[in-house]
């Protein structure tokens, strides 16, 4: 009876539960960071990794597609971690942006976004070909998924690809997004991801808003607005290029 009451209290106040839960996970992560890794692993990097791990178990337990948020008492995690609040917080980070850094933004952003979409697309397309896909629609859809997990299904639907191929393109995009979240803090020193310009290029090349948001949060939160600024254009550009120009290129190459 006590458990039922507790579960009701948590479920009926879902977003408040999410506030508490995220605070708890953050506290545990920072404790692990200082006491077990001697500060080597950043607290927020551990928190993001823990979040992903719990998302895996959430998906395993419920069979749903929203990770931990499919468990009734954690539905608030889905709201707090959804696109609405994520984008609200991303916009807020722009408040501290230095206008000086944004002077060349247009050029850097445009180059890296278009280049990034094409680069990811062709890597995905080449891997698809290596795995034996030989029709232009499947190759294009998988390539589009390598851009982001939104570009994949949008392109697949536009070209009427099969549902299996569309699901595969989503999986490619999800792997990319999750990898970017986890790996970015570790590779940041080697690729000089420590200033506004390189953060913009990073956002433009990776393009996955979740990946870029998570990766930069764990690396240096001051870089978030610069990376997010370019990443936010990526999915739109991908949805524009993949089913049109890039599809035509693939079709010309395949036949």
């Amino acid at each position: 009876m006590i458990l039922d009451t507790l579960s009701n209290a948590l479920t009926n106040n879902a977003i408040i539960t999410a506030f508490f839960f995220v605070g708890l996970v953050t506290a545990i992560s920072y404790w692990i960071s200082t006491n077990l890794t001697n500060g080597y692993l950043h607290g927020s990097a551990i928190a993001i990794a823990l979040g992903l791990l719990m998302a895996y178990f959430g998906g395993h337990l419920t069979g749903g597609d929203k990770g931990l948020a499919d468990i009734p008492i954690f539905t608030g995690i889905g709201i707090l971690g959804g696109a609405m609040f994520r984008d609200f917080a991303i916009v807020a980070t722009a408040f501290g942006v230095d206008l000086k850094h944004l002077k060349n933004a247009g050029l850097i952003g445009a180059i890296s976004v278009v280049f990034g979409v094409a680069l990811s697309f062709f890597i995905g397309a080449i891997v698809a070909v290596m795995f034996g896909y030989n029709d232009a629609i499947s190759i294009t859809t998988i390539g589009a998924g390598a851009a982001t997990y939104i570009v994949g299904p949008v392109t697949g639907t536009a070209l009427s690809a099969s549902t299996e191929i569309i699901a595969l393109s989503v999986a490619v995009g999800l792997i990319k997004s999750i990898l970017v979240m986890i790996v970015t803090p570790f590779v940041a020193p080697y690729i000089k991801l420590n200033n506004a310009e390189s953060a913009m290029i990073f956002g433009g090349l990776m393009g996955t808003t979740s990946g870029v948001a998570g990766g930069l949060a764990a690396t240096d939160p001051k870089l978030v607005p610069y990376g997010a600024m370019t990443a936010t254009f990526y999915t739109g550009v991908g949805c524009l290029l993949a089913p049109s120009v890039l599809f035509l290129i693939v079709r010309a190459l395949v036949s």
Binding site: I48, Y56, R86, T93, G124, L168, V172, M181, M229, F233
Partner: protein, 119 residues
């Protein structure tokens, strides 16, 4: 007042998303094109306005800064709601395509950075 900051943030985000949707329709894409980027530019622009009608004071600032500080906790929640299971069950092709894309994109960052710095 603190709520002015929150409202300003909301105004920028809604305007950005609206313009991003319009931009998408204009170029014939079923997606929002840069809405959040536009919202960020709008916020930066408004933060730099200084006149007698409109000036952002300390309390207003704290309304924006709160949400900026909530960024990492929100990202942790975002991580916890990812479809990690689907990513892992995508099989070898999805894994290899995803990993290769990330590795090569990372390697291109310093290359592109040098190219842009040179010009």
């Amino acid at each position: 007042m603190v709520v002015y900051g929150v409202a300003l943030l909301a105004f920028c985000m809604l305007t950005g998303i609206f313009l991003g949707d319009l931009l998408g329709q204009l170029i014939g894409v079923d997606a929002n094109v840069g809405g959040i980027g536009i919202a960020m530019l709008l916020l930066i622009f408004m933060a730099n306005i200084k006149n007698s009608f409109f000036e952002i004071n300390l309390l207003t600032k704290s309304g924006v800064n709160f949400w900026s500080a909530m960024y990492i906790p929100i990202v942790v929640a975002m991580a916890a709601k990812q479809n990690v299971l689907a990513a892992i069950s995508g099989g070898w092709m999805a894994l290899i395509a995803g990993v290769l894309t990330v590795i090569i994109s990372f390697m291109m960052i310093p290359v592109l950075y040098k190219l842009i710095k040179r010009n």
